[in-house]
C-alpha cells in the first residue's frame, strides 16, 4: 500500500492522467482537492480548474468536483466536505443495493468500482460489501479488465482484504460463465450517465450488458447522483477518451505485440439504458 503526495496542481494532473488516481467518484474529490490546492498555493484558480478538467474527458464527476470547489466560498472546506460526503454516499448506495443480491449471489463486476475508485467504501463493490456485511454471502467474479488490469490489480486486492470470496478471470471468460449459469447478476460503476440513462463506463461494460441481456441476467449500475449528467442527452454525446497504445502493447514493461503494431484503445464504452435493469444511487434503486 503506497501513498502519493501531490503538492502542486501539476503533480495532481499527472497523477490523474497516469491513472494513479482513477475512478469517477475519486476523480470528483481529487478535482475539488486540486482547486483547494491552487487556492492554498495562491495559483490562478480558473487556470487550475481548466487544467484539471482537461486531464480526463469522460468522467463527469471530475468537472463536478472542480466546479463545486471553484464556486464555493471556501474551496478548501468544500473539497473536504466532498470527500467526506463521498464515503457517506457510497454507504447509502451499498445499503440500497444490497437487497438486490440474494443470499449466496454470484456477482460479476468489471474494472474497479471499489474504495480505490472512490474516497472510500466503493460503489459497485460497495453494494457487494454491504451485502457481505449484511450476511448475504456474495461471491464475486472479477474480470481482470484489460488493458490496465484494474480488476486483477485493484478489485481482487480489495475483495481479498474484505474477506469476500472472489475468483479472477480473463475478460473473455464472462460469456462462458454466464452460459454455464454461474453468474446471478452483474454490477458495475459508471463514469457518466446521460439524461436518457445511457451509461458510459470502463470499456467492456457494454459487452457485459449485452451478454447479461442475452442470458436473462440482471445488470445493475451503482453510482452517486454526481455521475448523472443532465447536460449529456445520450451516450453518443459523451466524449470517449482514447488512451495511449502502450497500455495495450506493453504489460509491466514487457512488449506483448510486434513493434509498430497499430492499436485502438478506447477507454470507455456506452451501454444503452435499455440494457440496464436498475440504477443504484444514494437515493435508492431506480428501475430502468
Amino acid at each position: 500500500l503506497a501513498f502519493l503526495d501531490c503538492t502542486t496542481v501539476d503533480d495532481l494532473c499527472d497523477a490523474i492522467g497516469s491513472m494513479a488516481v482513477r475512478g469517477a467518484p475519486a476523480l470528483g474529490a481529487a478535482g475539488a482537492m486540486g482547486v483547494a490546492l491552487a487556492c492554498v498555493r495562491g495559483d490562478d484558480i480558473a487556470d487550475a480548474a481548466r487544467r484539471l478538467v482537461a486531464t480526463r474527458p469522460t468522467a463527469v464527476n471530475l468537472a463536478w468536483g472542480v466546479d463545486r470547489a471553484r464556486t464555493a466560498d471556501d474551496p478548501v472546506a468544500e473539497a473536504v466536505r466532498i470527500a467526506a460526503e463521498d464515503v457517506e454516499r457510497n454507504r447509502a448506495i451499498g445499503a440500497h443495493g444490497a437487497p438486490l443480491l440474494d443470499d449466496g449471489a454470484r456477482v460479476m463486476t468489471h474494472c474497479n468500482a471499489g474504495s480505490l475508485a472512490c474516497v472510500g467504501y466503493g460503489t459497485a463493490v460497495g453494494v457487494i460489501r454491504a451485502a457481505h456485511e449484511g450476511g448475504r454471502h456474495p461471491s464475486v467474479w472479477v474480470p481482470e479488465t484489460r488493458p490496465v488490469l484494474q480488476g486483477a490489480r485493484l478489485t481482487a486486492w480489495e475483495l481479498g482484504r474484505l474477506g469476500i470470496a472472489h475468483r479472477l478471470v480473463a475478460d473473455v471468460m464472462a460469456a462462458s460463465l454466464m452460459a454455464s449459469g454461474d453468474v446471478d447478476c452483474v454490477i458495475v460503476g459508471a463514469d457518466r450517465i446521460a439524461a436518457n440513462g445511457d451509461v458510459v463506463n470502463k470499456v467492456g461494460t457494454y459487452g457485459l450488458a449485452v451478454l447479461a441481456d442475452h442470458h436473462g441476467i440482471p445488470f445493475y449500475v451503482a453510482a452517486p447522483r454526481s455521475t448523472f449528467d443532465p447536460a449529456s442527452p445520450d451516450g453518443a454525446s459523451i466524449p470517449i477518451e482514447q488512451r495511449p497504445p502502450d497500455e495495450v502493447t506493453v504489460i509491466a514493461g514487457h512488449r506483448i505485440a510486434p513493434a509498430n503494431t497499430e492499436v485502438e484503445n478506447r477507454a470507455f464504452d456506452v451501454t444503452p439504458a435499455a440494457l440496464v435493469t436498475a440504477y443504484v444511487t444514494e437515493d435508492g434503486v431506480q428501475r430502468s
Copy 2:
C-alpha cells in the same frame, strides 16, 4: 522466428502441453508426427498415442491425426501426407471463404487461426489472406486474446508479415467496435465442431458470437472437415480444458494479481450453432 526440435514423444507432449505447438490443425499434424516419431524410435505406439491425445482434451484434430497415423500402414508417410494436405485444405478454405468478404471488409478474428495454428496458410486468417491476395483489401481487428495473447503475439505478427492492415485491441473493446459500425464480419477457427454444429473454440469466441448476433454482423467459422466430430452430439458433450491459473495471473514473468488470488481458466467455450452464419471448410461454404 525460432524452431523447436522435438526428438522424443515426451518432447512433443511437453511442446503441446505448454502450447509451443497449438491450433487445432497444427495439433492434428503434430499428433500424427508424434506417432511417426514413436514408430521411428521403436517406442510403444499405443502408449505414445495415448499420451499424445491426453495432452489437450478439446481439439479433436489431435486425436484425429494420431489415429490416422496409428492405423496407417506407414505412419511416417501418413504423417507427412497429413501435413502436406493441411496446407492444401487451408488454401481451399481460403478460396471458398474469400468471397464472403466484401471489398474493404473490416474483419474481426479471435485468437490465432493462421499459419501458426496450422501447418501453413491458416484457416480463419487463410480466408482473410485469400481475400487479400484476391485484391479485396480486407483489414483486420485483432483482439489480443487473453490469457495467452495469441492475437497480440501471433495474429498481429502474421498479418504484419503478410502486409494485411490490422489493428490490435484489448478483448473488451470488441463490443464497442461493433456498436460503432466498425466491424463487417467476424471469422474464427474451431477446435471441435459437434454433430449439431455447436462450435468449441478459444474462450471468448462465444462472447463475440453473441455480440455479432446482437449487432446483426455475420459470424463465420473456418475449419477443416477434420474439426467436425460426429461422435460429439453437441457442444455440451465436449470436454472443456481447464488451464493453469498462472496463465491468467502471470504475464511475461510479472504477477498481475495479489498472491493466492483464485482463478478460473477455461481455455475454450461453446458457440451454439444458431449463432453461426456459415461454416467454411475445404468443401465449400455451408450456411447454418
